[in-house]
Amino acid sequence: MNLVTLAFYFFAVLTLAFAAVVVFSRNILHAAFALLFTFFGVASMYVLLQADFLAISQIMIYIGGILILIIFGVILTTNITGVEVKSDKTGRLQLVSAGIATLLLAATLIGVMTTTQWNTAEVPAVDATAEAIGTGMLTRYLLAFETASMLLLIAIVGAAFIARKKPV
C-alpha cells in the first residue's frame, strides 16, 4: 500500500461520488458545483497517468471555461426570485427501466474490460509531455489541429449569433 495506490483510490472514489451527486441531485446548482469536483477528480486521474499538461488543460478549459458557461446558463435560464432551482421528477417506470439498462451496460463494459488480455508495453519515463503534445500537433496531427481551430472559430461566431438579442 504505497502513496500512489492510496491517491488513486481516494481520487477515484471522489470522482465517482461527485458524479453520482451530479446525476442524482434535485438541486441544479448543487449538481453544477459537484461537477466542479468531478472535473477536478478527472484531472487528478490524469496526473496519476503522468499526463501533466493534459491535467492542467483539463482544469483550465473545463473548470475555467465550460463550467462557468454552464453556471451562467443556469443563472440566465431560471427565474431569480429566490425560488429554489429544482428539476421536475421523471416518471417512475422510466427511471427504473433506465436504471436497469445502464446497470446492464455497466456490467457488460466492466466484464469485457477486465477479461480482455491487453497488450501492455513498458512505460518509459517521460518528463516533457507538453513538448511531445506540441510536436505531435504540429507534425502528425496538423490537419486535425487546423480544423479544430476553424471549428472553434465557427462555434464562437455561431454561438454569439444565435444568442444575440434581436433588435426589435
Partner: protein
C-alpha cells in the same frame, strides 16, 4: 495491489454509465448537458490510460486534447441554443419542447 490498466478502465466505465443515466433520465436541458460532459470525460480517461500503458504513446493524449477542444465548442453552441429556447418557451424542459411552431 498494484494499480494497473484495469483500474482506470473500470473507473471510466462507471463514469460513463453515470453520465449515460444522467442524459437519459433528466428533463432539465442543462442537466442533460452535464451528463454529456461526464460521458466525454470518461472517454478521455480511457484514452489517456491506454496511452500510458501502451508504452507512453502520445496519440492517446492528443486524442484527449482534441476531445476537450470539441467539448468546449459543443458546450458553447448548446448553451446558445438553450438561451434561445428559454426566450421562446420560458422554460428549458426538454420533454415539453416538442412543437415546431407555437
Amino acid at each position: 495491489m498494484e494499480i494497473g490498466l484495469n483500474h482506470y478502465l473500470v473507473v471510466s466505465a462507471l463514469l460513463f454509465t453515470l453520465g449515460l443515466f444522467g442524459v437519459i433520465s433528466r428533463k432539465h436541458a442543462i442537466m442533460v448537458l452535464m451528463g454529456l460532459e461526464l460521458i466525454l470525460n470518461a472517454a478521455n480517461i480511457n484514452f489517456v490510460a491506454f496511452a500510458k500503458y501502451g508504452g507512453m504513446n502520445m496519440d492517446g493524449q492528443l486524442a484527449a486534447v482534441f476531445v476537450i477542444i470539441l467539448a468546449a465548442a459543443e458546450a458553447a453552441v448548446a448553451l446558445a441554443i438553450l438561451l434561445k429556447i428559454f426566450h421562446h418557451f420560458r422554460h428549458v424542459n426538454i420533454d415539453e419542447v416538442n412543437q415546431m411552431k407555437e
